[in-house]
Symmetry: C2
Subunit: 198 residues, 2 copies
């Protein structure tokens, strides 16, 4: 609570950002007003522009400014491989490796009954339609290896196993640079189970 209603409103508004509590919101507010009013202006404009121009790609469900996103519209990508990720941030992480040249489908979430997120909210029907209408060879399920991500992967596998498409998933095991001594039991067990010929 400051002594200005407008400042209180700004602090309250900033609290909807992830990881921002009352103290951080106050620090951000005073920083912007005291030392970076230009920055505040740029944020406000960038937010409004993004709200106006960012839509969903009609094919992969990722954020895009055009009906088809850059990746879906690119002739250089392999249209026969589709990688299913939970969020745009996951997609960016995969893109940054440069190791994948196929297409994506972004669920924009994961199954989470406690939060009321079911299969209908994640566009599973749309994904199935995509697989049936296009020539897709391989479907890589790349949800997170959390409980909810794994549940989503299992559900997807169940849903899509009748489709004539190879379903694969990311390898699970010891991370690069990992030392066995410090790896958790679950990961080490998985690394043994999934061991591969040299």
């Amino acid at each position: 609570m400051s002594h200005s209603h407008t400042i209180d409103q700004l602090q309250e508004a900033l609290r909807c950002l992830p990881g921002v509590g009352p103290k951080t919101a106050q620090r951000m507010t005073f920083h912007l007003l005291e030392r970076d009013q230009d920055g505040a202006r740029v944020i406000a404009e960038a937010l409004q522009r993004a709200l106006k121009t960012v839509i969903r790609c009609k094919r992969c469900n990722n954020f895009s400014e055009t009906e088809l996103c850059d990746i879906c519209a690119s002739a250089k990508r392999d249209p026969e491989t589709v990688c299913i990720v939970e969020t745009p941030a996951d997609l960016e992480a995969v893109e940054q490796t440069g190791a994948y040249q196929g297409m994506y489908f972004v669920l924009m979430g994961r199954l989470s009954p406690l939060d009321g997120v079911g299969p209908d909210d994640l566009g599973f029907g749309r994904l199935k339609g995509l697989i049936e209408s296009e020539q897709i060879n391989e479907l890589i399920i790349a949800t997170n290896l959390t409980t909810e991500g794994e549940a989503t992967a299992d559900y997807l596998h169940e849903l899509l196993q009748d489709c004539s498409v190879n379903i694969t998933r990311l390898a699970r095991g010891v991370p690069v640079g990992g030392e066995l001594e410090y790896i958790d039991h679950g990961t080490l067990t998985r690394a043994f189970t999934d061991r591969r010929p040299w």
Copy 2:
């Protein structure tokens, strides 16, 4: 780097917030676009409203929506005591104690030659004018106990010692709940030097 220029611009804009690096900016951007577009709209509007309506109080230099802020305009506050703080956040911290009923003067910074902040940037002249033109009994210097805050306090004391006003400063010592074993040497030394009769 996402695949949308607008999203990149928003991420870049959010990085001017204190403590926000590229990863956090990405997380905030995707959070707002995926799950809280209303929140994004509210932030943008709150920022623009604040930029338009928040000005400086002509007496105490704090943020205000009116020429004189609530505190300076209040008849319930003691106009003969002025507390000098570095920032509006410091003022809020003092206000939240409820222990102080006087007026304030907000420097909006501290002396910091390395950042190019000198006496002229902190409204020292205006503060001196205030002391000379009004009936002020006591001036409480409540800058932070950092190197820069202490330098600012020393400079202020030097500047104002010819004025006919009592200059005091906050007590320094062991914080409430503090255990001597874990208090730093400087604080403990100060607590001994400044010890008071029971």
